[in-house]
């Protein structure tokens, strides 16, 4: 399919929008930074307390928990470009390692 001239639809006129309102290419959600939806609080992980149980990764509805390697251990971080600040991770964390802090 022909790609969109811009992923910002407000920059497109009626005849530049994709046919039938389809999204003609994959993974366009990556360009849509939903982190701006947060309402004033963001989750912060206390790396000292975190046991890497992965519950926050499992429960996050926006796949906004990043997993990386730190030496032999895993490390969990929040992807603030996509975290909407719902607070589910704070609620689910069994060791109170996540706190919603005012931005």
């Amino acid at each position: 399919m022909k790609k969109m001239k811009s992923l910002k639809v407000t920059e497109l006129t009626w005849d530049e929008l994709p046919i039938a309102g389809i999204v003609p290419e994959p993974a366009t959600s990556l360009a849509y930074k939903t982190g701006s939806w947060r309402g004033g609080f963001k989750p912060v992980i206390n790396q000292e307390k975190c046991t890497r149980c992965m519950k926050c990764w499992l429960f996050c509805p926006d796949m906004a928990v990043l997993v990386s390697k730190e030496g032999d251990n895993l490390r969990l971080d929040i992807n603030y470009e996509f975290c909407k600040g719902c607070g589910i991770c704070e609620k689910e964390c069994p060791v109170d390692a996540i706190e919603m802090v005012r931005e």
Binding site: V9, T10, W14, A20, G21, I22, V23, P26, T28
Partner: protein, 393 residues
């Protein structure tokens, strides 16, 4: 050219669909469309037609299956009537916005309640806002021919819109007429394989059915309307090509003795045939009566209708439908708006709801009323109901 075969309206549609070789048929049987679905199921079961036949549990599912199959690139047919169309109503809008050339045969039946299985065009007329191309046929031959043209119009890349076409319940759907058939080879030459605008393909992923809010819905509807308006060109082109193939030429407005007429009857569907007989009788008496049949209803052939009506003093619209509390019934309103910048007086009549017989005498009386209006030049103040017990018209 094929032979002439005796077929009902439903059968003629089923046989024509078979020649068009759809990939998917998803339909739920409902009187009086049932025979379309039964025959197609027979063809598939007997191995005469290589289609995926999906015996769905409702019309909502039927139209949903059509949506999915069509997005996958399939040629798709369904059929329904009355309550069935009411049940698939929400999906009709989704199919048209997605630019999917689903073709639907309709046996136009009055809507419940009270329950009634006979003729009424409301079921298809109320779909006027759904974004489907809409055509009304007047006999079994036009049902057969329109089926074959329907796929070609709908699937044309300039169009790529769904299309519904109707035949009056029982009056056409169950009436046996001689139908001049086509051969498979002729239809194959006329109707190329579907070449979709877009298709769901894992190797070239796209998303369909996305949200479009204040930032883009408006532009998308404008785009959809441009496609609908432009489809008129393709409709006429396909009618012309079909005429060259078969010698049977259709027009978006089919006229009969309209050129020099003082009064023109404006009709849709089966009433057209009866109205022709009335025109013949009046012409033999030297009365200048003509006929304009609104064959293609969406997109509405404004220019062609204005041309057809331009010399007349009065155009009498006959609606086999009712829209409650409106300034006038549906066909009347469209004709009235179309001629609002000049043209004949438009006199509105409602007739034949629930399959009530519309006889030659009834249409003659409509014509007489319109001739009276032509004489006085005074526009009637209300819509007349033909033959309602207890009401003079």
């Amino acid at each position: 050219m094929g032979e002439i075969v005796g077929m009902t309206g439903d059968e003629s549609i089923a046989h024509a669909v078979k020649l068009c070789d759809p990939d998917v048929i998803a339909a739920y049987p409902i009187t009086p469309q049932t025979i379309m679905v039964e025959r197609l199921a027979d063809f598939v079961y007997d191995g005469e037609l290589d289609s995926e036949f999906i015996p769905v549990e409702s019309e909502h599912s039927a139209m949903s299956c059509c949506y999915g199959s069509s997005i996958a690139g399939a040629r798709v047919f369904t059929a329904s009537a009355s309550q069935g169309i009411a049940l698939m109503f929400e999906i009709l809008f989704i199919v048209s916005n997605a630019r999917l050339p689903v073709v639907m045969g309709v046996a136009n039946r009055a809507l419940s309640a009270p329950i009634n299985i006979h003729a009424g065009l409301e079921d298809q007329l109320v779909c006027r806002d759904t974004g489907w191309i809409s055509i009304f046929c007047h006999d079994c031959q036009s049902a057969y021919d329109t089926t074959i043209m329907a796929f070609k119009i709908a699937e044309d890349k300039e169009v790529s819109l769904p299309l519904m076409y109707g035949i009056d319940a029982f009056i056409i759907s169950h009436a046996l007429e001689g139908v001049e058939t086509l051969e498979k080879r002729e239809v194959e030459d006329f109707l190329p394989p579907r070449d979709p605008l877009y298709v769901l393909d894992p190797d070239d992923p796209i998303s369909v059915g996305s949200l479009a809010l204040q930032d883009s819905y408006y532009e998308l509807k404008y785009a959809q309307e441009q496609v609908m308006i432009n489809s008129m060109k393709t409709i006429k082109k396909v009618q012309e090509e079909f005429g060259e193939l078969t010698g049977r030429y259709y027009n978006v407005i089919n006229t009969y003795y309209a050129e020099d007429a003082d009064v023109i009857l404006v009709t849709q569907g089966a009433i057209t045939g009866t109205a022709r007989t009335v025109v013949d009788r009046y012409r033999r008496q030297g009365k200048k009566l003509g006929l304009a049949q609104v064959h293609v209803y969406r997109p509405f052939p404004e220019k062609e209708l204005r041309d057809a009506l331009k010399g007349a003093k009065v155009a009498a619209t006959i609606d086999r439908s009712i829209t409650f509390g409106a300034p006038g019934p549906i066909l009347y309103s469209d004709v009235k708006v179309t001629t609002s910048n000049g043209g004949p007086i438009i006199q509105g009549f409602i007739a034949g709801l629930g399959g009530r017989d519309v006889r030659i005498e009834d249409i003659a009386k409509v014509a007489d009323r319109a001739f009276e209006t032509a004489k006085t030049g005074e526009e009637p103040s209300k819509i007349s109901w033909v033959g309602v017990r207890g009401v003079e018209f």
